[in-house]
Amino acid sequence: MMTRVFSKPEKMSVYRNEFLFEIENLGLNSLSIVSIISLFMGAVITIQAAYGFNNPWVPLYAVGVTTRDSTILEFSPTIVSLVLAGKVGSNVASEIGTMRVTEQIDALEMMGVNSSSFLTLPKVLACMVINPFLIIISMFLGIFGGWALGLLSHVITSYQYIYGIQFEFIPFNVTSALIKTVVFAFIIVSVSAYHGYHTEGGALEVGRSSTKAVVYCSILILIFDFVLAKLLLVQA
């Protein structure tokens, strides 16, 4: 199936329009959920870090360092990708699965369209392009959420937090997070599209495909998170 997905598109302009549509459908429409999760994620990390570092030997700016590194290295790329696996993955699997059981994919094939490529390639590329932007927004909002809640709950001062998030900052951490995001985006769409495309039956099977897609995506994201962390961060 992958060979057919990445074969030459029949008409570039049609694929470009589909790509732009998917940027909005799969990417921009996920912005609100990503923002809400990121704000609360950063806030909770700050509160828990402050609780854990309640020790005179640990400087308070360590809360900022912890929030920054946790958010950039793990929470934004991985947790947000897991959330997107639920939202985008189930969307892709159910959309393509429904097209399969209602013969819309057969209709595409009958027109001479490479259905696997037409239905999958624009979605894969759209997610691989837009998800890094979502994750960058998530990083900013996560760190902002930590700052805002840290101030509101008086667990840290603004100066200490900002000093903490600047302390020994390693720019490569952002790069590694974005590399992970691109890989996760590929996994989310390709695995979900595969399950949707191979749906057989009716509404019940579409539901099953959707569930399977989310489960497989989540497991693969966690496995690749480990592999990429080992590859990128140990070498760095």
């Binding site: 008409k11 049609v14 209602t102 209709a107 027109m111 369209v113 490479n114």
Partner: protein
Amino acid sequence: MIELEHINKHFGDRHVTKDFSCQFEQGKTNLIIGESGSGKTVLLKCMVGLTKVDSGKVLYDGRDFLNMRHKEKQNLRKEIGMLFQGGALFDSKTVEENIIFPLSMFTDMTVEEQIERANFCLGKVNLKNVNHLYPSEISGGMKKRVAIARAIAPSPKYLFCDEPNSGLDPKTSIVIDKLIKDITTEFNITTIVITHDMNSVMEIGDKVVFIYNQQKWWEGDKDTILSADNKELLDFIYVSKFLKELRARQGK
């Protein structure tokens, strides 16, 4: 012309198409009839390559479809229009977008030309002011007509219709049948219709093939079908008590 030679298809142990051979001529509406589960739709899907056959040949004007490479099959499919049982319209696209989709994909027509063609095809199926509606916003009969409009938009040489009248009232069924017949004659295409609707047979059956027990059982046309000397075919036609009584009264 479409020729089928010794088509066989199994699903596991089940032999769903047995040694089916037939010729379907250009410019005629060729009907394949038979009971539910007799293998009509499987045969149709075998013809267009949506289901893989076990053995046999499908020739489109002499071109051996089953032995073509994938790319060649894709190219030949651009000459085929297909009306699916449920319409198979793209939910995410409007009526107009559904019709212009194959044109935007495979022709160099401008957007204006595509819209003009869509309007022409919608006119052919007697639909107006539905261009910007989504499939979920139109009735079953309208969906079928939009599906026909989409199928004929790229000017196909071959048209396949899988139970075009299923789920439609008798009046709309006649409209759809007439449309299929008119389009076939006007554009001189080879049309194959799968149906179990006897009204369709009597309206548009230039050629009729009856499938029984997963094989070709009878072949003829609408003028000879009622007088055919074939018990299974007559049982299929005169299925209701009313028709049986009517036939008995006519002394046949």
